[in-house]
Symmetry: D2
């Protein structure tokens, strides 16, 4: 039985607690939050759980094997580092850290101590994204030409991170899992409509070594909610609409075939194929449940999580580069090849 | 009665011919195309029209008052310049020219000769865009915060221009008409999936002096057709879906109000308002008919067209800057302030 | 403080319990169900509540002022009657009873004893239906010409009632609240695809004295879920799509104007108006919360509930007539004028 | 070469003329209409065609082999009968005649003279309906449980026929082609909102001998246009949305399996399967072109048309019965078994 403590019981924390409470092999011992009212709520729902306002209480508690850090980004590093240093396995909310440097330290610390460091890249554990990964990696799509996502809504303006760190991060975790290639550079643009606040509208392009491009459009100030993503391949293309209640994923049998015919202005070089559309059934298990079980299993069997610290670091690296590019209104910022 | 000749009877030319044939005050005298089969088709539809494969025949014909140039972009400059030099008024397909330099020459030539130079920015003459212009300029939207357009489909790959010149050009003409402010710089990214061919996927950000940003997502390789545009304002927001048969325009009574309260991570600075949605009735006249009448009227009354050579030049300037930025993977390229 | 007991803790019961627990002025004393596991669940959520498998325990408990009956239809009558006879106020799930005769007895019993009998016509307490009622009764729609609803999905086949009693009942409660006129006759058709089971597909037409008609299409065997309703008026028309997350209600400024011109086969008698569409903001409070507060208020202030026993009886009368008509494959079955 | 004359050049006639003009093996000799302006338009488009206001001119013309009757329903019988009596093959607009008696006479006349009598059941020649027929008849759907269609819009009120004859007729032609079984009785309800005019809202249920039901909802007074149809089978179900530009047909792998387990109120008798959805590519040829070629081929090869006079008569029989039922507010009206 794995004893877990959860730090942070705000918006997302209750979901983490509930899923570990229900996960066979796991046991939630304690919950920590700065807000007493939140703790009372946790207490009333789970009378057997210890609550505290001081994270040190959990980190220094020998009965606790693992800590989930579900707090604002700025605090991830300190809490996760202390937990690792106290020999706890760690699950940390995404984005993993506020800087690449912090992320590197966490990864190194976990590695040296042989502890599991996992990042809560929730989308990776959804049925839809797993099906996309299958389609891409089985070669069914052919060569991947582009990934294009729109993730907009009338959202809460956040004060500590910009809209890329809040919304584009989802796509970065999906791409990290689904695409074989990693980006080599970024170009980002954005704007803040409230003086002194982080960008609330932003656009991010990712460049790859091969014949592929990715783009993410995020916006906290849209009148309609959109969660729509396209992946174009040489053989097939995917449309993923996460707001569709039943047909989230549509696969189109459309593609292009390049011919070698001599070209001219009036002549088409490219032959189009257009055929059936197919909406596969998607596994409906709650992603967080799958993820909680995976965390427990990785610790018990000493396996590397699908979304380990290195994956978390790759995502932070892109976000940091995107911030740099955005400062320069779109200038290309390279990513390290080996990352 | 204005006597008009049309050069180019390919995809768009027949629409231009039909609308001038039906426009009171105009008379189509001649049609020119390089393809004999196209000319035969024009002849059979309009037995009274003269056809020719040689544009000089029209340009040197004294009976002709005005020439419409509906040919590939690369040929616009030569044909339009010769027509102006022969004292013809000119309507030229968008984008007006292949370079800024060419555009400047055309504008100057028309000006010196006192001739009407108009560009076929068709969207400006649609009921939907006119309604948007009204909403923006009446102040009903409040301050405009962003313009964000997605214009994608499985389209014909063009060999002479990239996807920005083919699809983003529509948004540039709309913005030129609708927004009071003009962009001061651009950042563009894109990719070609066929070696030696122009970019078929591209993303363009436009920067403005004030608190506004614009973004255009264009793609010839999408499995679904999308023609969707958002304009976010401080008071209201517009969603324009050009594929909706009846409710193309929706206006949302949603906006943000910035308060001066001291901020904290857990505290909201911003108050949201969310209210009714409203889909105004849109004028359904064919845009090209409105445009043809406007061209005739501008010549007869010596008025400046809504989409004159200067508007055409502003659009070409942005497209040329976008190409430069795309070469540098997103680097900011400034636009002249006075443009 | 009103002390309430809830009989039935299956699918809907927990919602009733939760809303009375949270309603100021109400107190849930006890919950009854035949299934021990359900009772344990209720107990763990609300440790202060008494649970029992015997409804008599609640009905005979003098501390209890009101009873909510949330059990299968066949049992409504017995439980509600006993509760009334023990001087409890009663809230009963819809449809109120399995027969008109039962319904009449309940209404009479409540009346004689001066007790509140209310039926859980939940839709009447939603923001959307209240807005519809406003629009219809303010005259904004003009004369109401028709009510047309489609309510289909891949649903659980029920064994005790047919699909009209399960799904069409929602529309009957809405119509009872929204329309000034009451139906005078019905025609219903339907089919059961499983031998010995009640109809799982059915169609119900309602006739009115004036120039109006209503129709309801219900189906437990549809591949897609639809909750869509039209109300056509002489001035405006409403589309209510309950599955739309944000714009549930759309009001169309479309209507017809009848002219007196002499007619001919080739001539139109009718002039159409088509104008704006408008989606009003809908109050988002949970319907059951509004309803729970209304029940408490009606008892305390001795007011007649919006959905009293007579409303419940009117709905049962239509359902019973519909069953008769369905037996005769659509034959008209009259409803009593005074009902 | 088959020489054809077309009587009626109003809304639909020009499409018939154009498709026969373009059909190899056919030749349009003459067009007849009561409206001189329409004839002038036909003449200017097809200078080689003879025009006349007198249908007798065509019927008595020995050079003419076949006549297409594209006039109001009331006139079909006289024109078609005269044409058959003059030994012309006949294509007649749907519904074939205004009464069953008229239809029987036409079928008999054509049969005795060995002439081709075909009805313009256009939908039967669309790619979508042909694909549906394939799916149903290959057994892929399993047993067909229901056919349910909604066909509504803000339409022109017609003066000579009610909305069933105008809109439901489409579904009757589709069912006649797609379903193996023929209906044995109908129940219809409807209303006219304009005194003295035919019903503009109507609902039609069709009963079959086996475990199947059909229903059609038609309305000329709806604020939105809907063309949506469901066919539910024991194995799969079809959704046909004719307004969808690209995915008109969706096939759902959803069905029910009836188990023999003992039932109870709380227990499910029925197991649901829910799986993939699939949108097959649809043949996009113009239906009327396919139909025109079929008419020519049937005459030349002496084959029975897919939509022959008997099919036309079956449809008229249902419409006549529906009118009778509607007079009696839904009473069951039987159809002859042999029809």
């Amino acid at each position: 039985m794995l004893n877990i403590a959860v730090i942070g019981y705000g918006y997302w924390g209750p979901n983490i607690v509930r899923n570990f409470v229900e996960a066979p092999g796991a046991n939630v011992l304690a919950v920590c939050d700065q807000d007493e009212a939140r703790l009372e709520q946790a207490q009333s729902r789970y009378p057997g759980i210890t609550t505290t306002m001081n994270p040190e209480d959990l980190i220094n508690n020998d009965a606790i094997d693992a800590v989930a850090v579900v707090t604002p980004v700025a605090t991830h590093y300190d809490l996760a580092l202390k937990a690792l240093q106290s020999s706890k396995h760690v699950l940390v909310e995404k984005p993993m850290t506020a800087t690449v440097e912090q992320g590197e330290t966490l990864v190194q610390e976990a590695q040296q101590r042989g502890l599991t460091l996992m990042v809560d890249h929730t989308f990776v554990y959804t049925g839809a994204v797993r099906k996309i990964q299958e389609l891409v990696n089985s070669g069914e799509l052919g060569d991947v030409y582009y990934y294009d996502s729109t993730r907009i809504n009338l959202g809460l303006f956040q004060h500590d991170v910009n809209v890329l760190w809040d919304l584009a991060v989802h796509d970065l975790t999906i791409m990290d899992y689904v695409l074989a290639e990693k980006p080599i550079a970024v170009s980002a643009t954005g704007i803040s409509h409230v003086a002194g606040e982080p960008e609330n509208v932003a656009y991010l392009t990712l460049f790859f070594e091969n014949n592929m491009i990715a783009h993410i459009n995020v916006n906290w100030l849209a009148p309609v909610k959109v969660r729509s993503m396209l992946i174009g391949g040489s053989k097939k293309m995917i449309v993923f609409d996460d707001l569709e209640p039943s047909e989230k994923l549509k696969i189109y049998d459309k593609g292009i075939t390049v011919s070698d015919a001599p070209e001219s202005v009036y002549e088409m070089l490219i032959g189009y194929r257009a055929g059936d559309m197919w909406a596969p059934k998607i596994e409906r298990s709650e992603a967080l449940r799958v993820e909680a079980l995976h965390f427990v299993e990785c610790i018990q069997d000493n396996k590397t999580p699908l979304t380990d610290g290195k994956a978390g670091l790759r995502v932070v690296r892109i976000l940091e580069a995107a911030n740099q590019s955005m400062q320069q209104q779109g200038a290309r910022v390279a990513l390290p090849a080996a990352h």
